[in-house]
């Protein structure tokens, strides 16, 4: 796809997210042809939906859809995913105990639509009927995200093996890349809103955006966002767990820096509920925690590098034609 086509998809995706309800969005996305795009151009499709979802603060289903797709499973409107709970990134939400499957994890907004949930365990992926899970809403710091704790204890016959542990790992990588895009979109939204504000807001007779202390904070945010975007492109190109994890960490850092600097240079106004900046902040906090928080994953990356005594060189250089001077 060329840049113009990508821009069209981006605009259409943004509109879709602006209109849909969480439960209705998966069907709307499936009808829009987005899933076909995900198969044809996974990087573009995931990055566009992810960034738009982050930018528009939608509680969209993109994360679940790309995790299913990444795991090689069918993507439909009635299948959802049980995510690992926040704070324990390496503990799968499903556990085989004897012949049973014990489930304890998180559901995202719109989980009520699902008739089937996919649950990751150390042994692989299982499909379980929604009726077998008990959902308790978790308002937490970001009630708009519509999270729920999903729990169940199923006899083996109620759970159907649908994918290997490798498939689950692929789904996890796709999910981390999606969250990287969503966090980057969110950070970009914070930055854009803040740039507009500091151009408009005057103090000492000048726009506050003309003061170097303000400019340098926002420049650092811009650099962090550029790094996150470049890292995500690398991760799509490279398609490994390490690069997906690193991309999510860079995006988490960009989001964190944006939240801190953008809040500060807004002055008091962003402290008010009426302004709404707090909605961006709390979304960032929770998205950062999904599928492993930045701090946890950074240490995990370091542990893996030290264990292997190897530093991955990602991405590889792209092919280039003859030079033009």
């Amino acid at each position: 796809m060329d840049a113009a086509e990508l821009e069209l998809v981006r605009a259409a995706t943004g509109q879709l997210l602006g209109r849909g309800s969480p439960a209705g969005l998966p069907a709307a996305l499936l009808e829009s042809g987005w899933v076909e795009l995900l198969s044809a151009e996974p990087a573009a499709a995931a990055a566009i939906l992810a960034e738009e979802q982050g930018r528009t603060l939608s509680a969209g289903p993109g994360l679940e859809l790309v995790m299913l797709h990444g795991a090689g499973l069918a993507v439909d409107a009635t299948t959802a995913v049980v995510l690992p709970t926040v704070g324990r990134p390496t503990v799968p939400p499903g556990r085989r105990v004897g012949g049973r499957l014990v489930v304890d994890g998180l559901g995202l907004a719109g989980h009520e639509r699902a008739t089937t949930f996919v649950v990751a365990t150390a042994e692989g992926l299982f499909a379980v009927p929604a009726a077998a899970l008990h959902a308790v809403a978790r308002r937490g710091s970001d009630p708009d995200l519509g999270l729920a704790r999903l729990q169940g204890d199923l006899a083996g016959t109620g759970a159907v093996a649908v994918g290997s542990a490798d498939a689950g790992a692929s789904g996890m990588n796709a999910g981390r890349r999606f969250l990287a895009g969503e966090l980057t979109g969110l950070a970009g939204r914070m930055l854009d809103d803040t740039v507009a504000y500091v151009l408009d807001r005057h103090q000492f007779g000048h726009p506050v955006g003309s003061f170097q202390a303000v400019k340098h904070r926002l420049a650092d945010v811009r650099v962090a966002i550029a790094a996150a975007r470049a890292g995500l492109a690398s991760a799509f190109d490279d398609n490994t767990a390490a690069s997906a994890t690193a991309a999510k960490c860079l995006a988490g850092r960009a989001q964190r820096l944006a939240a801190s600097h953008c809040h500060q240079v807004h002055g008091g106004i962003a402290f008010t509920v009426e302004h709404g900046f707090h909605r961006l902040i709390r979304r960032g906090q929770l998205l950062d925690g999904l599928l492993g928080g930045t701090d946890e994953l950074t240490a995990e990356l370091g542990r893996q590098l030290r264990h292997a005594a190897r530093v991955p060189r990602t991405p590889r250089l792209r092919e280039a034609g003859s030079a033009t001077w």
Binding site: V198, L218, R303, R313, R318
Partner: protein
């Protein structure tokens, strides 16, 4: 037959061929696993056999035009080769960076000078440096005062340059001087190609925190420079220096990240008692992953001949961050050996850490890069 570079080959095939060549030259390559920590004169001498070897193999001629001593092909191929050298555990010759940074400007703005001098630089027979900064013109380069006065068919240059990396050991320098009125700012500047053994030039090395003289002052007292040594147009010096900066922030940054990956990897092999070693290594890796991801895209752009515009300041900031994050990681992981020991590992990292402090200053201080990002990428007003 010894594998040779194919300028028409893919990046992947180039790297494969290079590794086969490398394996056939293991004995010759053996001494070049570490960056020499000695004074720069000794560094040049120590690295020269490696430069010669790479040149004779054709590898460092890849991606330079044939009319100035290259083999043709893409600079991306050469970048991949230098990286493959680092990935195999060898140190990319330090002086390679000077060619990567200065030669593209000669090729674009003074092809006759590239034809005349690049072959000798590629083979390692001569070394180049920059003569930009002055005592009163650092970040504010447009205010520099070294004068170039018309004299017969050429010019006479007078003034003082400083912070010239390799300045005391280089044979030639690209010198930025004022041809316009004293208040002409960056519009009144011209770039010259100056032989550093010319009459009227005095050089003085500057001893640095890293324990050696990394840079030099260059005093010019009526130095005669012929008209054919103007790089680009008279009054076009700013354009030339901005073009050069892209490569200092592009090709050179790529070379540095290739080296830094190797250095971090080596660090993982050292024993550590740091309680937060995992996080420290993770931080360092993320800085490298960010730099490399950005840089790979930049290299591809530069190879197509596009000017990169203000986005290149992002690369420069990511490079400084990566240099310092990796060096800081070493300081933490090697505590307290780095502070107490006198072995090679400690000495090497002490020097490297000290040098890393200048990486957010040379080639455009980080604060100016942030101004550029804020003004040219975010559209914020000029600072007051």
């Amino acid at each position: 037959m010894t594998p040779q570079p194919d300028p028409a080959g893919t990046v992947r095939d180039t790297v494969t061929a290079f590794h086969r060549w490398r394996e056939a030259h293991t004995a010759e390559l053996a001494p070049f696993r570490h960056h020499p920590t000695a004074e720069l004169e000794a560094v040049i001498a120590a690295e020269q056999p490696l430069r010669r070897l790479l040149y004779d193999g054709g590898w460092t001629r890849l991606g330079w035009p044939e009319w100035c001593g290259g083999l043709g092909g893409s600079p991306v191929q050469r970048a991949a080769v230098l990286e493959a050298l680092a990935a195999a555990g060898y140190a990319i010759p330090d002086v390679q960076g000077t060619v990567e940074i200065i030669a593209p400007m000669l090729i674009r703005f003074a092809p006759h000078l590239a034809t005349a001098h690049l072959p000798a630089a590629l083979v390692g027979e001569e070394l180049w440096c920059q003569g930009f900064s002055e005592p009163d013109a650092g970040s504010d380069l447009g205010s520099l005062r070294t004068r170039a006065t018309p004299d017969g068919d050429g010019f006479r240059l007078s003034g003082q340059k400083m912070w010239s990396s390799w300045g005391h050991v280089a044979r030639r320098a690209c010198v930025l001087a004022r041809t316009g009125a004293p208040d002409s700012g960056y519009r009144g500047l011209t770039m010259f190609w100056v032989d550093l053994d010319s009459p009227g030039i005095t050089r003085r090395p500057t001893r640095c925190e890293s324990g050696r003289a990394e840079v030099a002052e260059i005093f010019l007292d009526g130095v005669a420079v012929p008209a054919e040594r103007v790089i680009g147009e008279v009054g076009g010096g700013w354009r030339a220096v901005m073009h050069l900066m892209q490569f200092e922030r592009g090709a050179y940054a790529w070379q540095r990240q290739a080296d830094l990956h190797t250095e971090l990897e080596r660090l993982l092999g050292a024993t550590t008692t740091a309680p937060d070693a995992d996080r420290v290594v993770g931080d360092a890796y993320l800085a490298l992953f960010a730099l490399r991801s950005q840089c790979a895209a930049t290299l591809a752009e530069l190879a197509t001949g596009h000017d990169l515009g203000p986005e290149i300041s992002v690369d420069k900031l990511l490079l400084g961050t990566a240099e310092q994050t990796v060096a800081d990681a070493a300081r933490t992981l090697l505590w307290p050996a780095l502070e107490l020991d006198d072995d090679d590992l400690a000495a090497e990292w002490r020097q490297r850490w000290a040098f890393s402090r200048i990486t957010t200053i040379y080639g455009g201080v980080a604060e100016v890069q942030r101004d550029l990002v804020a003004e040219r990428l975010l559209g914020l007003p000029r600072s007051r």
